[in-house]
Every structure is written in structure tokens, then in C-alpha cells.
Amino acid sequence: MLLRRPVYIFSTYFVMIFSCVFFLTLFKTGSPEKMPIAVVDLDHSSISRRVVHELNATQAVDIVAVTDTYEDARKLMQQGRVYAFVVVPDRFYADLASFKRPEVVFYTNNAYTIGANTASKQLLTIMTLASAAFQREVLRKKGLPDYMIMKRLQPIAIEEHFVGNPSSNYLVYLVGILLPGILGLIVLMITIYSIGSELKWKTSRDWLRAAQGSFTRAMVGKLLPHLILYCTLGITMNIVMVRMMHFPINGSFLWLNVGMVAYILAMQSIAVTFVGIIPILRVALSAGALYGMLAFSLSGFTFPKMGMLPFVQALTNIFPLRHYYLVYVNEVLFGNPITQSLPSVAVLIAFTGLQMLIMRRLYRALLYQYFPKD
């Protein structure tokens, strides 16, 4: 069965390989850089032109346009061409020369959060550095030695430590959970399909006969080859990420994979439960798809669980991806002793018991085929 229907092999291998290649090559860099911005030059002085020049020279931002009016820059932003723009005010040079502290405003577009954050962070750094450079000039003229100036310019410094992901690589947040998420989606859909199609094509009795009438033997015979296929894929995926893409791994790689196997088992069990409750292929698939897609949002790896409404927080627990994510955080980022991962693995294994609840109903559906074909 596994080999006869191309949909199994196609979906599983093609989809996983495609997704791996897609997500592992999607990002040109681990963190975004050189965001396009615009400058509104209201001053038209030599110094404002120099500001533009200097900004461009920093390599942190990419000035794609210099406009004469605020409206033009705003329009560029509304067209999605720039993530931010800097307004150099009228009389900038004159005010600067007479110590009147002309204010520079930069406008960002938080409709594109990552682009806007990057651009505004880089602009902030540039402005702070520019301000410091100006001070250094003044202090030098006052005759202070350079080493003292530097200390004076930065009374406080913050040292950032990114626990478990020292380079704050975006891939580590995203791909380490997204890919297992996609695998889980496939496990769910294919398992529903493989059992549901027996009902749809009325072949379920032949299947039971092949298993000598034993429901358990029939299920194990069908799902075990799948399980082996998925586990191989899941573990290969982890090997690619950790060993080849050099994701950090601070805990036990073995336990990460134990979590993976438990996660796949849990997804299979949920799929069986879906077909058991609704033994009609198309409805079970649609319901499975509705549930499966929500796992990506509700596992809380992008928008954390603490930011959700209380009842939504409770809902996150019904998604195995959530529990796999907890194992992942533990083993990849924190390197806690495995006792910390144990509760999540236990929950995943508990999911495996879910299918027991509908076994009788599914068995009868397979035996009597009394549900409508669609």
C-alpha cells in the first residue's frame, strides 16, 4: 500500500525535501541587513548632503531615494519601497552651527515589523555614533586625551548574551520548529488519508482480512511502515540542522530525537482519532487540515504563549507541536538536564493513548462500512 500509491511517497519526500531546501536557503543572511530607506532633505545644505553621504557609507542602511518633501517619502513608504525615512529639517545647518540642536526625526513603518525594526535600530546606532563623534571633536579641542574621551562618551555599556543562540540566528528560532511542524502536518494528513481511503474505496474489509481479522494487527501493519518513514525523515532533518547547518545544540541530541519520535507518534494517534470520530475521508481531511494549520500559531514559537488570552493559552496544549517545541527549547537552547524535557515527552506519549478511545468506533466503521462515502 505504501509503495503502490504515489501520493504517499510524493507527499512525504517531495514536500519535506522541498520545505527543507526552501527554509534553509530562504534567508540570505541570519539576520536582516541593509534595509532600504529614504531621506527627506529639507535643508539642501552641504552638511545635509554630507549626512546622506555618510549614512550611505555606513553600509547599515541603503538610501534608495532623497526627496524634497515629506509627502514624497511617505508615498514611497506606502508603496512599500522603504521601511523608514529620515527627515533632515529646514535650517539644519544653520541651527547646528549655532548650537540650536536641530531635531532629526525618523519615521518607520511597523506594518513590516522586521524591516522597520532593523532600519530603526541601525539609524539609532548611527545617530548615537554621530553624536559621539561630535562630542569627541569638541573634547579634543578642549585638550582631553583620547582614552579619557572614549570612557567619557560611554559611561554605561550593555553586554548582550543570547542564551543558547549566541549569534541570534533567526533560522534557529524559526526553522527548527517550522520543519517539524510541516512534518507533523504531513503525518496527520497522510495517516487520515491512508485509513480514510480504505473507507472511501470500500477496501477496509480486505484490509482487515489481510490482518486476519485483528484490528490491532491491521493498524500496526499499516502505521508501522509509515512511522519508520517519518522517523527517518525527522531524524535526518535534525541531523541536517544540527550537524550540517551548525545550529547550536546545548543539550542532548539523542533526547531531541526521542522528542521527535514521540511527536510523530502523537500526530499519528491524533490522525487516527480524527478518522475514528469522522469516518468520512473528505470531512476528516478538511477537519484535520483546519486543526493542523493552527498548530503553527498556537505552539507559541513566534508569538509567545504568555501574550495570548487565557483560554487560548489552554488550547495550546492540544497541539503536539507545542510540546515538541518545549523539548526543542530545552535541548537546543538551554541544555537543561533531561528531566526538564521529560514532562513534555510524557505528554506526547500520552497523546498516543488518545486513539484507544475511538478504537471501537473505527473498527465498526471499517467492518460495516456504514458511513456515507462522502
Partner: protein
């Protein structure tokens, strides 16, 4: 005479198109699977995604403090850090190890470590005081909150400490400020001013929901028709003749009519109900929806034509929802994306739909400002329509030749039969 024939031909075509339209509508409404996708997923998903992200921003991320200095200066720093909306200090630890244990147990998502020489260094006025910050990397937003709160506070502090020091040097008042911050600067967030996650993520997701439910919904009845050996590529009730345009226009219109309603709910009503940004004029949105829906419909019809079984589309293509989202350049900016995937994303109606919709709704652009997205969607409509037309014409031609060959074969057989009979009778 000629005009009469033209009018007749036009009428036949109109009637045929109407028949295809009605037939497709009937097919949709009889199919429980499609109804589930269109009217349950299409209407419930916009609401569910809003409920998940309804709080919009993450506030008060828990942070532990390790204050080795325990001086007035360090206490003030901690106090002001706690006051930042992004974070809240929940634990005070005696050692860094203790705090790190809390972080690893996910009880806190950040640590501020103030060394014992903090105050003396600050007082000396000659050295740099170092504060260490540890961030929980399990979610991007934890890190962002802790970093933002700390760096904003630090910048503010720096200026004030510098001012104090200049005052000590008898450079006070405006001159001091002119030195410390010769060019004061301010960041203003023009659109989505709170920087909320919901207002950033949900609008493009709404477009994606419309796109994907349409995609899967179109996939299913095509698969069913193929399964039941009904003719998908030729006019119903006629054995031959390609009538590509009648088929495609009639069929497309059926989905278009249903989806103008569903998309109006998801893209116009839901943002108002849930307080998402809704700066666009309704007229602009409706006009934008026309090419968005049409390009999506023909995109889906084209890919559905390769579908041989009704359910496989759902099984094999479900993951595309994620691919389409990340290929759009909405979350990860285009500029930092691998060019290959960027250009591939350009071919998807969802990409332009999401960008155009965000420009209209979140950024209050007019349809004129969004001309690029609007026109690209029309171009994509044309492209996918032509691709469908070519495919349909080819399939109809193949069925045609197959039918003709069969006819020829049958004629041949009967001819042989007759010949044999004749020859027999002659004998």
C-alpha cells in the same frame, strides 16, 4: 444575414457560459467538503487568528535582576527598568547562577546583571560601567522586549550622566545638551504605531486565508469530476469541440461571486470587528479584490487541472500555505531573501495580494499608490487565464483526437465486418 449569425453565435456563447456557471455553482453547493472549506474555514479562520493574537503586544516579560552593586545608582537603574512597559522585574537573585537557573526553567525570560563596581565606576567618571544582559532566545519577541527596554533606558541614562559630568566641568545648561546631543532625534512609527504583532501579522494572514481556501476549494470539485470521469475540459453535454473561454469564464464567475462575499467579510468586515487597522476606503478595497480573486481563481484552476483524485490536493499541498507566506516577503524582508525564492514569490497572487492589502489597510494608501500591486495582479490574472486556456484547449484537442480515432477505428471495424460478411456471402 451575417449580423443574424453573429448574434446567434453570441447568444449561444452567453447561454453556454451561463450553463457552466450554474452547473459549477450547483457542484460547489452540493459538495460538503467544499462547503466546509469555503464557509467554515473561510469564515472561521479570520476570526480564530484574531482571537489568537488579540492582545496584539507582549508586555511585561518577566526579568530577573542580579544586583551585585546594591547601591542607590543600581537600584535606580533597576527601578526605571522595571517601569518600562516591555518588561517587569519579577525576581531578585543573589547570584548569576541562581538567575540563570530561573532563565533555563523559563520562569524568567531575561536577566540583568549589575556588577559590584557599578556605582564606583560611574562616580569616578572615567570608566565605562558594564551591565550584562541575558536574553531568552526561545522566542524572538522575548529578546526584542528585553533588548528594547534596556537599550532605551541606557541611551537616556547615558545622556543624563554625560550632562552631569559636563556640569561638573562647568559646562552646564544648553551648552551641555548641545554637546551631549548636538542633533536630538526621535523615532516615529507612522503605521501600526504600537508595533503590535496582531496588526502586523493578521492582515496578510487574512489575504492568505482567502487565497488558500479558494485554492483548496477549487481543487476538490475538479478532483471529484476527474474521479467520476465527468468531462472537466469540455462543455457539459457535448462530446466535442473546445469551448475554452465559455468554460473558464463560467467556472471562474461561480467562484468569483461566492468569494466576493467571503472576501468582503474577511478583508473588510473582520478588521473593523476586531479593531485591526482599517484605513482603506471600501471602494478601493472592493476594486483591489477583483484582480486578487480573479488571479487566485485562475491560478487555482490551472493547478487543479493536474488533480486526478479529489482528496490528494489537500494532502499534498497543505504545506504551501507556509511556503506562500514566507515567500511573500511580508515577515522576512525581500531585501534579505534569497533572490531565487523572491522571484518565485513574485509569481504568486498571494504575494501581491498581501502587500497590496497591507498598503491599503494598514498604511492607508490609495489604490493609485498601490498601482504596482494592483496591476501585477491583473497581469497575473491574464497569465494564469491564458495558461488555463492553453491547457484546456490541449486537453479538449486530445479528447477530440482520441474520440475521432476511436470513431475511425470503429468505422474500420464495421467496414471490415461488412467486407468479411460480403466476402462470406459471396462465397
Amino acid at each position: 444575414m451575417d449580423i443574424q449569425r453573429w448574434i446567434d453565435a453570441l447568444l449561444t456563447r452567453l447561454v453556454d457560459t451561463w450553463r457552466v456557471f450554474v452547473l459549477e455553482l450547483r457542484r460547489i453547493f452540493r459538495d460538503s467538503g467544499v462547503m466546509l472549506i469555503f464557509f467554515v474555514a473561510g469564515l472561521a479562520y479570520p476570526v480564530i487568528y484574531n482571537l489568537i493574537y488579540i492582545r496584539n503586544v507582549v508586555e511585561n516579560v518577566e526579568v530577573a535582576v542580579v544586583d551585585m552593586s546594591s547601591s542607590p545608582a543600581s537600584r535606580e537603574f533597576v527601578y526605571r527598568f522595571d517601569a518600562a512597559p516591555e518588561v517587569t522585574v519579577t525576581h531578585t537573585c543573589a547570584t548569576l547562577e541562581e538567575a540563570q537557573a530561573l532563565l533555563k526553567a523559563q520562569r524568567v525570560h531575561g536577566i540583568i546583571y549589575i556588577p559590584s563596581d557599578y556605582e564606583s565606576v560611574l562616580m569616578s567618571g572615567m570608566e565605562t560601567a558594564h551591565i550584562s544582559l541575558y536574553c531568552d532566545m526561545s522566542s524572538f519577541l522575548y529578546m526584542k522586549n528585553v533588548l528594547t527596554a534596556a537599550s532605551m533606558l541606557m541611551l537616556d541614562y547615558m545622556n543624563h550622566i554625560q550632562i552631569d559630568r559636563y556640569e561638573a566641568m562647568n559646562i552646564g545648561g544648553e551648552t551641555g545638551w548641545a554637546l551631549v546631543q548636538s542633533v536630538p532625534f526621535r523615532a516615529v512609527s507612522l503605521f501600526n504605531p504600537t508595533g503590535g504583532y496582531c496588526a502586523f501579522l493578521v492582515p496578510p494572514i487574512l489575504v492568505l486565508i482567502v487565497h488558500q481556501t479558494l485554492f483548496f476549494g477549487i481543487n476538490m470539485p475538479q478532483g471529484t469530476a476527474r474521479e467520476e470521469n465527468k468531462e472537466v475540459f469540455i462543455l457539459p453535454g457535448r462530446r466535442r469541440r473546445a469551448s475554452v473561454f465559455r468554460l473558464l469564464i463560467g467556472r471562474g464567475a461561480a467562484y468569483f461571486v461566492i468569494y466576493m462575499a467571503i472576501a468582503s467579510f474577511a478583508l473588510i468586515l473582520v478588521p473593523i470587528l476586531f479593531g485591526l487597522p482599517h484605513l482603506a476606503m471600501v471602494g478601493d478595497l472592493l476594486r483591489f479584490m477583483v484582480p486578487l480573486l480573479l488571479s487566485t481563481i485562475y491560478f487555482s484552476i490551472f493547478f487543479a487541472s493536474f488533480q486526478k483524485e479529489r482528496e490528494t490536493g489537500m494532502v499534498t499541498m497543505l504545506f504551501t500555505s507556509l511556503i506562500f507566506f514566507f515567500a511573500s516577503g511580508i515577515s522576512w524582508p525581500w531585501e534579505s531573501m534569497n533572490p531565487f525564492w523572491k522571484y518565485l514569490g513574485y509569481l504568486l497572487p498571494s504575494t501581491w495580494g498581501m502587500h497590496g492589502y497591507v498598503h491599503l489597510q494598514t498604511m492607508g494608501a490609495t489604490l493609485e499608490t498601490t498601482a504596482r500591486e494592483y496591476h501585477v495582479l491583473w497581469v497575473l490574472t491574464l497569465v494564469y487565464f491564458s495558461m488555463c486556456a492553453l491547457l484546456y484547449a490541449y486537453k479538449a484537442w486530445r479528447m477530440d483526437t482520441a474520440a475521432r480515432r476511436e470513431q475511425a477505428h470503429r468505422r474500420m471495424q464495421s467496414k471490415q465486418f461488412i467486407e468479411q460478411h460480403i466476402s462470406k456471402s459471396r462465397l
